[in-house]
Subunit: 588 residues, 2 copies
Amino acid sequence: MLRTHTCGDLRISDVNIEVTLAGWVQRVRNKGGLIWVDLRDRYGITQLILEEGSTDESLLQKAAGLGREYVIQVSGTVIERSSKNDKLATGDIEIKVARLEVLNSSKVPPFIIEDETDGGEELRMKYRYLDLRRNVVRNKLQLRHRMMQETRKYMDAQNFIEVETPVLIKSTPEGARDFVVPSRVNPGEFYALPQSPQTFKQLLMVSGFDRYFQIVKCFRDEDLRADRQPEFTQIDCEMSFVSQEDILNTFEGLTKHLFKEVKGVDLAIVERMTFADAMKYYGNDKPDLRFDMKFVELNEVVKDKGFAIFDSAELVVGICAKGAASYTRKQIDALTDYVKRPQIGAKGLVYLKYNEDGSLKSSVDKFYSPEDLKTWADKFDATPGDLILVLSGEANPVRKQLSELRLKMGDELGLKDRNVFKPLWVIDFPLLEWDEDTQRYHAMHHPFTSPKTEDIPLLATDPGAVRANAYDLVINGVEIGGGSIRIHDRNTQQLMFRHLGFSEEEAQKQFGFLMEAFEYGAPPHGGIAFGFDRLCAIFGGSDSIRDFIAFPKNNSGRDVMIDSPSSIAEEQLKELSIALNILKEQKM
Amino acid sequence: MLRTHTCGDLRISDVNIEVTLAGWVQRVRNKGGLIWVDLRDRYGITQLILEEGSTDESLLQKAAGLGREYVIQVSGTVIERSSKNDKLATGDIEIKVARLEVLNSSKVPPFIIEDETDGGEELRMKYRYLDLRRNVVRNKLQLRHRMMQETRKYMDAQNFIEVETPVLIKSTPEGARDFVVPSRVNPGEFYALPQSPQTFKQLLMVSGFDRYFQIVKCFRDEDLRADRQPEFTQIDCEMSFVSQEDILNTFEGLTKHLFKEVKGVDLAIVERMTFADAMKYYGNDKPDLRFDMKFVELNEVVKDKGFAIFDSAELVVGICAKGAASYTRKQIDALTDYVKRPQIGAKGLVYLKYNEDGSLKSSVDKFYSPEDLKTWADKFDATPGDLILVLSGEANPVRKQLSELRLKMGDELGLKDRNVFKPLWVIDFPLLEWDEDTQRYHAMHHPFTSPKTEDIPLLATDPGAVRANAYDLVINGVEIGGGSIRIHDRNTQQLMFRHLGFSEEEAQKQFGFLMEAFEYGAPPHGGIAFGFDRLCAIFGGSDSIRDFIAFPKNNSGRDVMIDSPSSIAEEQLKELSIALNILKEQKM
């Protein structure tokens, strides 16, 4: 090794030993005949010291010539520091340098390599290898490493077998858009990259693997948003001979294990809520339970008082923001503007202040007496000091609008504590959802999800009402994982494809292998997949998954560091039996 | 859970408890009013018993109707068996069945699902999910799981950080053919799938990650052979501030850890051999050291005796097969035919038998006296009973030919014991190798490998003689891993590209990001990659990596189970801005 210790190793007990360290120059200070160098590596920072007189002149010159981010190797003696630095683990000692070698020099970096940097996002993406040198960034990837190791430890202890499923698979029309790979050996044919290893993990259950997991890259060629990446990582799991309850318990166990081992947090029991309740009380299938503000429906107390907007509304529903009665007119106007933004689309906002003095003041005093308003307040169990916010309109849209308002109030009132974790299982999802564009039902989860046995008759009469054996794990309003008990017999699977509008022929062409597998003794089975990038972000207290990916792509799917994607040689295209076919307007 | 125990759990101490099991019907026997069912799952086999009279009639009928591979759930009482089965861990007990439910039926499988099967390879590939149900096959994937977990355990304990590098990267002309992925968002541009994460792991070193590893899928669009797959798995590693010695020690440690934990084998110290010695003594850069048969060069003792073939040969070299003097004329003729096969290409084979009675008999007695032949035998330290086999010709080809003969003799004499493991580091590989086709030097390892400092001057005068800081780990004649100390400064890297025939412009276009990274404080670093599929095959005592891959592709790169690759919709091609361009002869 080019070092005897790392820059995080040495302590007061090491005084007087001879050591060799290697690392990056974080800073050089030069004062009163003394030169200090902060030497950095992944493990910490150690201070080096050179003194005029007691140190060789050429060595002093070398040290004075060091620039930021130079890579050096030094040998010397560990000595006690005169003024200790409590902020550093090595702060009790420094190294009296006897030898110094520059292993590599460095140009001036394009941005400052410290926890606080002056680099903009694009610049840091281009020089991602320098951004990764910052402790705050590298720590996120160390957290990810820890989470991977702990996930495997738990899964292995629970008898899950890690199996690598193929990356070069088959394109299917269901779901999001596939990335495809032209086959050279089979001209005109393509592989697809997996959006998930769904069918393979089900086949492993048919194979009797009993418990499978994998931490696996998946791919979706979607239009990118800030928190999406074309390639992302999943903790993918499947179990045989289980009911939904067994899966929830097993992965509640994984979640608790990770919180305990990685964050030292004892997670409370994971609550459960039906999809129907989540929509009714939070307007959202992934409610953030760090704060209350449950929806209260007001139809019965607001109707027939002459307020036409409420009278004509399918749903009048509100939330109670504890202690927000002090909101000014201006603040309430801002909330009104917020919910009226086109992305949210509310028509207006009604408020009711329950003042500290017990008086009630609303934006609809013209229509409602103080007694009426007190009835509202009582519905919310409101107390003096609270602010009630009410929306109205068609039930489904208004719930979504109120959900946005609830989250906004959570932000404004500081209720979204990054150090509080409220996990929740949302269960009993609908099996199907109606798609206006294609005018047919789509699988809400995917076509392999089983309907609840008691709801199967509804498939023929009221498909939208059929509930699935499907569940999501939500933490702090973020969907972390989702899964289902699968269909495991050919007839039900065929029925499902029929309801999803597949012709017999299409279903056979795309998924014939799976349906055939179901005829050779497929066990009852189910599983789950966790979005690993997002899980890491939650653990790291960040909203962006990009921070937790070593080499992420930008919003156009480009890696600006290596400049990819890029054009390829004509010869390569020919070998692959494809040609470019670029429309003129795309070229511009 | 649909079971209280697995089929491998129950023991004599469980007698009298009520249990519920679930699994596959391995066999049903029906004799003298008794029905036995062998119930199988991943964990074992448990015998079920139903008895006429003491069991409900409808239950008996259900049991009698069970077919192979039916999936059933049974409840009953654990009882002691009258005749124990020592071959089963559960062989002391059986289950007296009180309830039986068929969870799924099964058609008759296309081949027998037992350790010995009647299914041919193509059939087993098509129904891979049934082949995986066989214990011998699933055990190979359980071994792979174990090796993955133990690899991570070791690497984590050694402070390596597991980092996922991207799968959608950039196509480069160097090395094997890339698989490419058309980008929809960037028309006319392509991603490539990584042949290895080489540049990314080096960038992680520039980032100060210090120790990186990953168990990662890599891709090569090569013409397939039996032991190659278009997607394969690597244990990929890189370390900073190390010399070659540190890397060899660290990964010798990993190898020993795996042998100890996975196979219970205490591996001997890993020998080291230079590339030059490996070629000189074994004719091969991956010698199988389970047996000796070292090459002995005979030039000085065979020349000028009138045997023109030897006299005109650049090299006369042989091996001594201990105890093979009893080989018949027919056996030796077969060996001669073997080395003369076009794939090997020797002109002929000279033998010398050192008979048990001390006499010497050779195929060149006409030219050499018994005293001459005794001199040969002495060069080999041969003793009575040995057979000496000699080839001659141009040095390099003749060494390769003799290497083949040596391996053949190892087979014939039963010296390739699958339970003996002889690891070896081959070091000091040449940096460059001459390519006849392109009439230029290629990097033997890859363009990022550093030359030995003392050999750098030779780059200008005798490039083929420059040795690299490169090493391979070989076990039993199989290359398991390889790596090098890398170049870490821009100038040397540029020099290297120049020697490989890259123009300044090409080098900049393809690897500019890496050379730029070297200017911002790149530490000295090096690494290694292990072929994980092959490592598993060695551990599993198999020659084929395919057995150790859950869903392998066939020799045409097809997954015959899911029928991939396949054609994709015209609409998909259009979105990707590509068109098919299939030549007529390919279509036929």
